[in-house]
Symmetry: D2
């Protein structure tokens, strides 16, 4: 951590910074410029100390972090790529893993039809929402427990692992009975009560990036899960909020090489929630695979016109079939497969 | 709702839109331009219907909402300003209500010293956090139940109402025992499980704006509280995330006249979390009162240098005293008082 | 254009809107809902009328545009894809066009070495800046006329077309002597004096997206060029400003399918200025090709450590060689070539 | 400047950084942490050196600036507040200076009526656009030279100084004949060719903040003007682009205390372009004065319903009269006057 002192600072004020750093067990080095005193505070845990600890002291102009605030999710903590195992499916390995299905589980017929189709087309995981966090209280909120049962049935019938969202810390135990991967949604990325419970469950978990969270905040949220001893963490980029209004969210394609540089965790991409419109989904999905994502989480519905939630961003089964052919070609050109 | 059909649309596709609108009980009017068919869908509840309902239909180019998606929080639903009563304190009336105190309750001495000082200086409500949602799992998370007890003590000793944050739906009942106003934090603005429980409690609630939420989403989140029959809702603007990096969050000063135009709910402003630095807080607080906010939620700490959380944005008691004099002068020039 | 009247509007106010629309030559249709009067204003040029024309009238609540404000750049104006011809190079056709070279022209040795290398590796156009718009007045501003001469020499020596930026309307004529494609930089996307001059030159022009411009504003800026009779317009996405701070700019990958949907103009992508760091450039470049971009504008420097400008985002020649192999594989998997 | 070396860096790489710093005339201090080598580069001009100078070197992980990139605009360069004199009007002194008038000069009657009214109501400067940078080529572009003449007439008739925008570097000389203050618009904040010419003119200049520029970039753009020897620089905050869509731009109220902290230049606020709607302008104007702005630049039109440009954000003369009374009360409560 680098502490810049104000111009004309006095010796006592510099000493105040030095003493606080030493009291926290850090080493200190003074840099005396012609205009500025700069105090370097050194130690492997400086990233976990709030900058305010020093910024509040008299005579301090600014405090700059050198170490990242996250630790367990960082590549410095673990050099090699992590792979999450869900049954026989490996996420973060050579295979590009496609997770597909409807936004919300609606009926047994719907989820059965989708599960069958996406499995045949090469998807590795079935997605479907039972608890839906909706912006308006007047919208459909999901089938809840009935939805979980339908997912469990489809899992059994087609031998395909299931991912579904959990929204209340007190539902974690229930959801783990029907789901192989717990999804923490974008709006809950910093719901720390939920993260702690999901961490304790030790289940594979997919942590969506909050739509206004920096990558640093996202990896720090992953630390909440990892700190509970749950190493089965998958990250999911799903678009960030920007000024551009032609899409729901702007998919942050750069997050893929950035996360790969700074973290060992596998990363998949949700093109559906970013685009908000089915016609834009295939281009974004292809881009994600080309940029190095470990998988895709995508909405597929047998009849988007009748979908209760997010029909506009869902692919039909025939659209999905076409996209899978494109993705397989790109994965192959990258030395991977689907 | 306005449905723009694609150029060259056929009669059947237009009819599909008309039929869906009628099946939902809406009136329909066709607008036949030279290049475009535009279908107007009319009815007082069109705001609560997702635009996807029509956007997924064949031949549709775009769907534009005319009615807002929120209802109970809107000025069309209730024309006159709402006033929330907390004991003898009225929020949303002629008085500009100042809520002050430390970010986190730390010790009995700390909370007692602050409570005494801010009451004498004219604050109407004591703030203090017992449950702290922290970005990093390695940071201080609050005194929790012990913190609640210290707040209850201070409330009794100084006869001042208390506001504190609740983060888990299952803590609502417990927190209502010590707090007069429940605070829903910015990161939980769309934690719908929490909103529903807080709504059911019927307690006055302060709903902070998510730092990346539009005003429309914020008022729609307020509908979750109001839909449970809780009419005691106070809004709180606390800054939004932008590209500007000289502050933690950019306080959205325009939100004050915008909310006043579209909603009947009282609105207060938190300058501390927006600024992130004590030197910027007074200017933002003055601006909020001048723009017409109904109050201020502000961090005051007897010794910010030793604060466990957010010391850098806390005013000292003497800073706060100076600011109160400034705010009283501005309130007076506006025909209000503190 | 859709004009929503206020609740309780009177007949005269509605009539005011109708009369103004008719005076501009538009058709009008009234939609009388239970709560709202909505006036639809119809005609093929409504997109070019400012919404304020109606929004200022008494009794108007809101005005929503249905038609886009741009016209000549739109797919409705021209259905088939435009192809820009630069010598024998076609931009917007089957070939994915790579434009490569240093950020700034520095010396004859430098530009010669790069031109030779990138041509051999398959690039179709040489890039190099002679006029550099720099954030600080104390930074290197480019070689100016000397730089143009060095570009012209390299063009002749290697038979490769050249693209370079023009920053002052009064330099357009001079720059056209050395450059085959004029580049309008992101900071000048709404420098209308410059756009008008470049439009008049009739030279192929690459219009970079302003880093805070919506796609609609970008296509409207393209209309400035097209309205002067210059149909040789190439768009270039180069990243937008967001809150994310791990990159200089967030490349807006969704802009590719969005532009392809709404415009007939060719679109290329600059991964270098978006990323700001060479290690992130290849992933973004691959993503752009996979998403359907018609080309890549990329910085290559023989010795980035000694570059006078933007060395950190420049690829070395051997990095570029590796990337070209990757891009060729992806282009092939898409049915295109480089 | 702080250079963080990669973990496991070798001595030669550290030496490379040290040598480059020394070759630029800087002092260097090494900080050897347990995990990291951090090189501090010290000297009063480090702010003007691009971070890339070091970031490109082998073994470097990150480079962090301590000194600001701007110099002449900084409070470190000049401690006391600058005051700009325009005739007898002082900008940056005790008086809060109101600059008012129409967005565009339209007719002699219009500009005469406004000039008379705003002067009587206490405005100190007349604003009016002769050259209008418009988003669409199909919109009214201003009266140009005729507009300048009308402004010059009004100036003479009412003895009030005039501010108007200049958009082309080659018009600067012409515009200085009619205008007391040259305005550089938001879209031209980084039009360096224009800044250089305006700087050379030595005329008082109002530099609007680019709507996506950080405060640091804005002050660095001011350095372009100051570096040409023009010390008569006034800053103008006019709103930034964010995700919020209820206003045209979000006025950055925090910019006022931030600029006052880091710069000596006077700062005024344009509430009209930020709000985009007349009903929101008064609240923002009051907030700006309360936050400490040195003035207001505001649009007033005798008949906004007929305005050719931006009528929706213009106040009528009677609205303006009411607002002036409010602003005077707030200025007085702050110890200032209008």
């Amino acid at each position: 951590m680098i502490v810049e002192m104000q111009t004309g600072v006095d010796v006592q004020q510099v000493d105040g910074v030095v003493q606080r750093a030493k009291s926290l067990g850090f080493q200190v080095q003074l840099n005396l410029g012609t205009n500025k005193v700069v105090v370097a505070i050194l130690g492997s845990n400086t990233g976990q100390v709030p900058t305010d600890t020093f910024a509040v002291l008299p005579g301090v102009e600014s405090v700059t972090r050198i170490m990242k605030p996250y630790k367990l999710a960082s590549r410095e903590f673990k050099g090699e790529d992590s792979v999450v195992n869900v049954g026989s499916v490996q996420i973060g390995g050579e295979r590009v893993v496609v997770m597909a299905g409807p936004c919300a589980v609606e009926t047994e017929e719907q989820i059965t039809e989708v599960a069958k189709a996406i499995k045949e087309l090469g998807a590795a995981v079935l997605r479907g929402g039972a608890y839906k966090p909706r912006t308006s209280p007047f919208s459909f909120q999901g089938l809840e427990e009935v939805g979980l049962e339908l997912l469990a049935k489809a899992r059994k019938a087609f031998g395909i692992p299931v991912i579904t969202e959990v929204v209340d810390p007190h539902d974690v135990e229930l959801v783990t009975k029907s789901a192989d991967i717990l999804q923490v949604g974008a709006r809950n990325m910093q719901n720390f009560a939920l993260l702690t419970e999901v961490g304790k469950s030790k289940r594979p978990v997919l942590l969506k990036r909050g739509f206004s969270s920096t990558i640093t905040e996202w990896l720090t949220a992953a630390d909440y899960l990892l700190a509970e001893g749950n190493s089965q963490v998958i990250l999911c980029e799903r678009g960030i909020r920007t000024f551009e209004d032609s899409v729901r969210f702007s998919l942050d394609i750069s997050s893929i090489p950035v996360v790969k540089r700074f973290s060992h965790l596998p990363l998949i991409v949700d093109p559906s929630h970013a685009a908000g419109h089915y016609s834009l989904v295939p281009a974004i999905a292809r881009a994600a695979v080309a940029a190095g994502a470990d998988g895709i989480l995508i909405e597929v519905h047998p009849n988007p016109k009748e979908a209760l939630v997010d029909g506009l961003q869902s692919l039909t089964i025939s659209d999905f079939s076409r996209l899978m052919a494109e993705l397989k070609a790109i994965a192959k050109s990258m030395g991977r497969y689907i």
